[in-house]
Symmetry: C2
Subunit: 290 residues, 2 copies
């Protein structure tokens, strides 16, 4: 591969020294926070970030405090060599891949809580998850001090939580959003897709189809969220092997359920396929198809 391989650093002090050498006044330092196991969705994020940064850092850290199930944490895929090659392909300058003890050298007592936005959707089913996400992102923002950071639309609630944290706590970081990357059949890319059996993989695109069916109703003028959700749930009926964890119509910034649809909304759902949990969401606006 002809790409320049990114520098990999694991120590916070080493990262500080390296950034001190590389940063230029007025230059834009970009950050893409990830948990590794990079796929084409991340590649898209990194490509966008590359265009918007003078120096581009990617963090790779499987953050234990955002996993509410130990098993999910332990089986989360890890492959630093492959990740590094992908980062090289995307033109990343620095990979910050700290060991756990570097990020959490002592029992954590300080947490960042974003209230209201975390009560529904994944927040309801993954207690402590967004506290873990907000806390680790706050740490990464202090450690890296980026000017800009990129996040994927696929984790829309995470994105809303981070946007709110940045505004409420005055982080001088611009948050940028990158659209979800999908397989040709509509399945959103996710590091967890690799856990799907061939049969599970074959039915998984029903998640996106269901959300799109709901969005189409909204776009054709439906204003009642309950009707929209009935339609979404109906799409899953042929697939008894998919267990719906939630399906909700929410305000796109506040992440609170909407009853009557009067402006843009996000339709979001989580489903279980065997022991794998998939999430997806679509943004839509009333009457957009009119």
């Amino acid at each position: 591969m002809s790409d320049r391989m990114p520098r990999v650093v694991g120590r916070i002090t080493s990262l500080g020294e390296l950034l001190g050498e590389l940063r230029r006044p007025g230059g834009i330092l970009g950050l893409v926070p990830t948990m590794g196991a990079l796929h084409d969705g991340h590649l898209r994020l990194m490509e966008e970030a590359r265009r918007g940064s003078d120096i581009l850092a990617v963090s790779i850290f499987v953050n234990p405090i955002q996993f509410n199930q130990r098993d999910d944490f332990e089986r989360y895929p890890r492959d630093l060599e492959r990740d590094r090659a992908l980062c090289g392909q995307a033109g990343v300058d620095i990979i910050f891949a700290p060991p756990r003890e570097e990020m959490y050298p002592r029992p954590m007592k300080t947490f960042v809580d974003v209230e209201g936005l975390t009560e529904h959707l994944c927040g309801r089913f993954r207690p402590g998850h967004f506290r873990g996400v907000a806390t680790v992102v706050a740490k990464l923002f202090q450690i890296v001090r980026p000017d800009r950071a990129w996040f994927g639309e696929k984790d829309a609630q995470q994105l809303a939580v981070i946007r709110r944290m940045v505004r409420d706590l005055n982080f001088p970081v611009e948050i940028l959003e990158v659209p979800t990357v999908r397989e040709p059949d509509g399945l959103a890319l996710s590091s967890r897709n690799r856990h799907l059996s061939p049969h599970e993989r074959s039915v998984a695109p029903a998640l996106y189809r269901a959300l799109r069916a709901g969005a189409a109703l909204v776009e054709r003028g439906s204003v009642d969220a309950a009707d929209v959700l009935n339609r979404v749930r109906g799409e899953f009926q042929p697939y008894p092997e998919m267990r719906i964890e939630y399906a909700e119509v929410v305000h796109p910034d506040e992440m609170q359920p909407v009853g009557k649809i009067t402006g843009p909304v996000r339709i979001a759902a989580a489903v279980w396929l065997g022991s794998t949990r998939l999430i997806d969401n679509v943004l839509c606006r009333p009457g957009a198809a009119a």
Copy 2:
């Protein structure tokens, strides 16, 4: 007055512009966060900070979210002109005095919680207080981006909370502690002292005397915190007008009660005198008088 008067800015963007003009590479930007109503204790803080900074900023903001009683917030003394003169005397360069809407332009949803250290002492009696303190200090650290920040030992639990927050969230800020400044009779300086009636003022020094009596026991070899606290409480007996809110012997970093004293401890108490609440604390170590 011959002192150069500090620049006063109220807007976050104006502060950013001013700091952009003044900051030099490698220069130390110091911050003393205050709620105004400055007294000689603050002056001492500012003098220490002046020696340790190239550019010195003082923030003056009566932070509503750290007051658990509206009345206490409303009657908290405010006197920006006097504060500005005192800051000038101390050689402060910039006063950041934002209006409430600048710090909280929308309902806050994001909070910084420091657990464990906030369960005892003031944390037990002022629910939400340290969450409010940690959150506003996190905001100020983002807005000002100081290299160093100074806090008074008088608010020892606040100092421990902020130190822990800085370490846990990787804030690149050095936290420095300045000893409590006292009146000749031992009363710790506090903006709330001005609420004391002449009689209340005359008995108030009993608080420090009680803590010192406890510390003397520890220094002479007492290892039982209960004995020490009996001694502290005994000192208040001649003053039925002082109501003890708490008196505790705690670990100086963890702020958790200690039973058997085997290392340095902080003895801390809060008392009410009429409608005024006073706090104080002393650090001591076993056998230090031996």
